[in-house]
């Protein structure tokens, strides 16, 4: 059995789904961040696989920028968590309920 495009795609979709369910089910913000990153990595993997099997370079270029965006996203996200922890003393999303009608 040779590894083909479908295998990469199934792996990418699986990673994406793990990330998605993690974001939905986990309560700790930092774990949720990791799951968000997992979703981005899944998209990255799909892009690289498509780029390889389509024979076009755009997918690889896209990946460079996604890595940068992911780094920036983590920086912003961690800044928000630090600000939140200083005010609330928790990073548990279930305990964030100050905003209500």
């Amino acid at each position: 059995m040779t590894i083909g495009l479908y295998h990469y795609l199934v792996l990418a979709v699986t990673l994406f789904a793990i990330g998605f369910f993690g974001v939905l089910l986990r309560k700790n913000t930092l774990i949720i961040y990791m799951c968000l990153e997992l979703m981005l990595v899944a998209a990255t993997l799909a892009l690289v696989a498509f780029s390889r099997f389509n024979g076009t370079i755009e997918g690889n270029v896209f990946v460079f920028f996604i890595l940068t965006v992911a780094a920036a996203e983590v920086a912003v996200g961690l800044a928000i968590v630090v600000a939140l922890f200083r005010r609330r003393g928790t990073v548990d999303v279930a305990k964030l309920n100050a905003l209500k009608n």
Binding site: L9, A12, F16, G19, F20, V23, T29, I32, L36, M39, L40, A42, A43, A46, L47, A49, F50, N54, G55, T56, I57, E58, G59, V61, F62, F65, I66, V69, A72, E73, V76, G77, A79, I80, V81, A83, L84, R86, R87, R88, V93, L96, A98, L99, N101
Partner: protein, 508 residues
């Protein structure tokens, strides 16, 4: 790969963005060099002034760009950027809306933070807002998935920071986190959709995607990609069922940041997706004119639109918090703007652009009033607005004009926005089409919306602040920047209602 890359064209295409970059470097640089020696008030003033001058120069650069005639488009830098009437209008629109929200900073010092200034780092705030504006502008001119994604993320990341900028407030940080989590997930969905589209077509340039998809026709994989892209779109537009962040962010974010999220971000988002859906995925749109036509993204957009109108209007009726009420009304307006996305096929992007622009101006007016009230007393519940007409007749008047425009009362801009949009939707195939039914639902729901808008106005204009209510009776001194921003929004809301062709004429 083409070795002769024309960098002069790149510079030409991105002149407004370059102006914004230089402006934000100037704002940061000035603050680093002289900020510590200045008073807080002067520091904020200088930062806002640099921001306004930068946005003005970006507008100047945009005005000196050759706009192709309506129906044509110019492509720059190997098809990475597109320039047409919509891109031109959106660029001018987001620069203008961004400048209006910048002016609000002078007025935004919440009660809880009078001792510790709210905007301790005004230069950074201005710089981040300019970055967000740059993201909006990139979204307006992007013609390939990469630039679109980068613009989208630049805008989103800046807006997360702005939503959490009030470090003294618990609500601000929480709003920021919720915005970030929903936004990050939506961005991941959209990116995965992009990667599937790239995989199917082998290109990331929108018109080439359209050509490739026209050959391939609809496929299940394409449906998955469309759904994923629409999740990202629904989040950006705050359309149901992807709206959960909106009430929290509108409630918790500093008023100027909330105003930017509600105005310029919406305008750029809708323009970007109208382009993505029509220019990139137009050949697989499906049919909105007849029942039983081929399936495509139009049906999904219709469902999201109907859900947003129903949920937004009905949930808004139950709100006691003024900001959350505006958020749910924003969800309802997003539903109407989605109808406008469908109607692009009939009348072009003119009605959608007019609606999003006038909606943004009116929303800035409303948030500006909230920001000004917050100088003396909290402004969250609707009852906090009681007696506003005695505390500040000017604020009451601006709130009156802007809220009535949101409700869609003639002769204000909001009415004509709805009118042209519904007319364009009905033009597709009268009432006997999915789009026609949606327009009918939108008209019915606008009547529901009238009720909660009048609740706000009743609190502000009729109710007196008695001893029983929490509202303050203190007179409100409105700072100059806020006065300019509010007067401009109210005047524009009236003027664009009387002369809608000033905007619509661009698209004819």
């Amino acid at each position: 790969m083409n070795a002769t890359i024309n960098y002069a064209e790149l510079v030409y295409a991105l002149r407004p963005e370059i102006a914004l970059t230089l402006g934000l470097l100037l704002a940061l640089g000035y603050d680093m060099a002289f900020g510590r020696r200045m008073s807080d008030c002067a520091r904020r003033g200088v930062a806002v002034l640099i921001g306004i001058v930068t946005l003005a120069s970006a507008v100047f650069q945009t005005l000196h760009t050759n706009v192709p005639p309506v129906g044509h488009a110019a492509y720059w830098f190997h098809g990475a950027f597109v320039y047409d009437t919509l891109a031109h209008g959106v660029r001018l629109g987001v620069f203008g809306l961004s400048a209006l929200t910048l002016l609000l900073i002078a007025g935004s010092i919440p009660h809880s933070a009078l001792r510790t200034p709210h905007f301790k780092h005004p230069a950074e705030y201005v710089a981040i807002q300019l970055l967000a504006t740059m993201g909006f502008s990139l979204m307006a001119v992007s013609n390939n998935l990469l630039i679109a994604f980068l613009g989208f993320e630049l805008a989103s990341l800046s807006l997360y920071v702005m939503a959490g900028f009030d470090k003294t407030s618990r609500a601000s940080a929480e709003a920021s986190l919720k915005y970030f989590l929903f936004g990050g997930m939506a961005a991941a969905f959209m990116l995965f959709g992009f990667s599937l589209i790239y995989g199917m077509t082998g290109t990331i340039v929108l018109p080439e995607i359209a050509r490739a998809l026209a050959v391939q026709g609809p496929s299940p994989l394409l449906l998955v990609a469309l759904v994923m892209v629409l999740v990202g779109f629904g989040y950006k537009a705050a359309a149901a069922p992807f709206h959960q962040w909106a009430p929290d962010v509108y409630q918790g974010a500093p008023a100027p940041a909330a105003a930017l999220i509600a105005s310029a971000s919406k305008l750029a988002g809708f323009a970007f997706f109208a382009r993505l859906l029509f220019s990139g995925l137009g050949t697989v749109s499906g049919d909105a004119i007849n029942f039983g036509g081929p399936a495509g993204w139009i049906m999904a957009v219709i469902i999201i639109s109907a859900a947003s109108m129903l949920l937004g209007n009905i949930a808004a009726l139950a709100q006691t918090n003024a900001r959350r009420l505006i958020a749910y009304s924003a969800i309802a307006h997003a539903g109407i703007m989605l109808l406008g996305v469908i109607a692009v096929r009939a009348e072009g992007a003119g009605p959608l652009f007019y609606y999003a622009l006038t909606y943004g101006i009116a929303t800035i007016g409303v948030f500006g009033v909230f920001a000004a009230i917050e100088r003396t007393a909290p402004c969250q519940r609707i009852s906090d607005l009681a007696g506003l007409w005695k505390r500040s007749p000017f604020l009451a008047l601006v709130l009156f004009v802007c809220v009535l425009s949101l409700a869609g009362i003639p002769p204000l801009a909001g009415f004509f926005g709805k009118f042209y949009l519904f007319a364009a939707a009905l033009y597709l195939n009268g009432l006997m089409s999915p789009a026609g039914w949606l327009a009918f639902l939108a008209i019915a729901m606008s009547a529901v919306g009238l009720y909660y808008y009048l609740v706000i106005l009743k609190a502000a204009l009729v109710t007196n602040a008695t001893a029983g209510t929490s509202a303050s009776t203190e007179k409100i001194r409105v700072p100059l920047g806020t006065v300019i921003a509010l007067a401009t929004s109210a005047a524009l809301t009236i003027a664009l209602g009387i002369w809608p062709d000033v905007v619509l004429g661009l698209f004819k």
